[in-house]
Amino acid sequence: MSKYLLNKFLFTVDRDPELVERYREDPKGMVEAWESEYANRILNCHGAESSTWLRFEDAEREALAAHDYPRLFELGAHPFLTLTLFIAMFERDHEPLGFQLEYARRLGHFALPYPDIAT
């Protein structure tokens, strides 16, 4: 499990308007590109000093590529990061609060305790 890397994806995309739009339009291509270009960057370090070992597990890559936020919840991605990014991408397609309520409904099968989000 690489919950940290899932969160890093959500975090770095959510804060960048261009990446938000790329992820909305082409999730599969965007996730592949992100994994090769961004996944190993230490965020406040020079590119030549990137990490060497970070990669998604297949289930994580697939969930991201499918915009499958219930699966991201199940995998232990940080719910705040997931919610914020998915609101940025899809709130515009719904009535006010409509996307947030659909999001809750689609997670309705989860009961306490929720998946562990510790990284």
């Binding site: 969160n7 975090f11 965020l43 705040f80 997931t82 914020t84 305790p113 929720y114 990284t119």
Partner: protein, 287 residues
């Protein structure tokens, strides 16, 4: 020594700014009453005539990240820019600029470390809505210097609730021992029951109204013992998956003091979460 003139604990609802400034059809039906309550709450700070604000909040994965995550961090800078692109995008929050009270930051860091808190610091901190929301509600003219203090309520492992209370008590001691003639208010924001990114989010009320009632009672009566006897890192998952933000309220109960009843209490039951506003005047009244 400096005087602690007000202790304020509040929720920080990022939608207040948009709700309160919207007009016509865009204005939600709950906005007028919300504005009325916020303006009454604001008066409790205005009356205390503070010179400096110590602002306790929690970065929502904006500047602080999992590759280098502090538990408690004090800003020490002459200025703080504020609000982030994703907060403008989602909440319509404006960009802001604050002046820092750098000498108080220096004092809190030195004395706080010596008092047993290994505080992290930042000399270039862009602050987020956990601190800008209470400025918007309580001091919209944004004319006072601040000391921002961030707590980790977001990225486990978290400090335990008792640690938040201890930090609150220490902040009070440090403010009251600061060699200055300034009047200081400590303002901290957190949450009652709250769910974000989970199945109980954005309901007609907060996810756990029963917890909210109990929490308001603990805070209003200063019942730290009762609160600490029931609230744990594990128990906070039950009222909602973002309820660990309640620990910032517990920190503020530590600032206010054991058994100290709040001088002002108000709540507002909104969709999604309950608003809660508390003010203590440590010297028994406003001078």
């Amino acid at each position: 020594m400096a005087e602690l003139v007000a202790v304020i604990a509040s929720t920080h609802h990022p939608f207040f700014y948009r709700a309160s400034t919207s007009t016509g059809e865009d204005r939600p039906p709950f906005a007028d009453e919300w504005v009325r309550k916020v303006e009454a709450f604001r008066e409790t700070l205005t009356k205390a005539r503070p010179d400096v604000l110590v602002m306790v909040g929690s970065d929502h994965f904006h500047q602080l990240w999992l590759d280098n995550m502090p538990q408690f961090l004090v800003g020490k800078a002459p200025f703080y820019d504020a609000n982030w692109y994703n907060e403008e995008r989602e909440f319509g929050l404006p960009r802001m600029l604050f002046e820092g009270q750098e000498d108080l930051s220096t004092y809190i860091l030195r004395e706080g470390i010596d008092a047993g808190f290994d505080l992290a610091f930042s000399n270039e901190l862009r602050i987020d809505h956990s601190i800008t929301c209470p400025i918007i509600t309580l001091r919209p003219q944004n004319d006072l210097p601040i000391v921002p203090i961030y707590t980790n309520i977001f990225a486990p492992p978290l400090p335990r609730p008792s640690r938040f209370v201890q930090l609150g008590k220490t902040i009070r001691q440090l403010v009251e021992s600061w060699p200055s003639d300034k009047r200081v208010a400590v303002i901290g924001t957190g949450h009652l029951s709250l769910e974000l990114g989970g199945p109980r989010q954005f309901g007609p009320h907060g996810p756990d109204p029963e917890f909210d009632q109990k929490a308001v009672q603990w805070i209003a009566s200063g019942d730290l013992d009762g609160c600490l006897s029931e609230v744990t890192l594990d128990s906070l998952h039950l009222p909602g998956n973002a309820t660990h933000g309640f620990m910032d309220f517990m920190l503020m109960m530590g600032v206010a003091g054991e058994g100290k009843k709040a001088d002002y209490v108000d709540t507002y039951d909104l969709f999604h979460t309950m608003e809660a506003y508390f003010t203590w005047y440590p010297n028994g009244g406003v001078a």
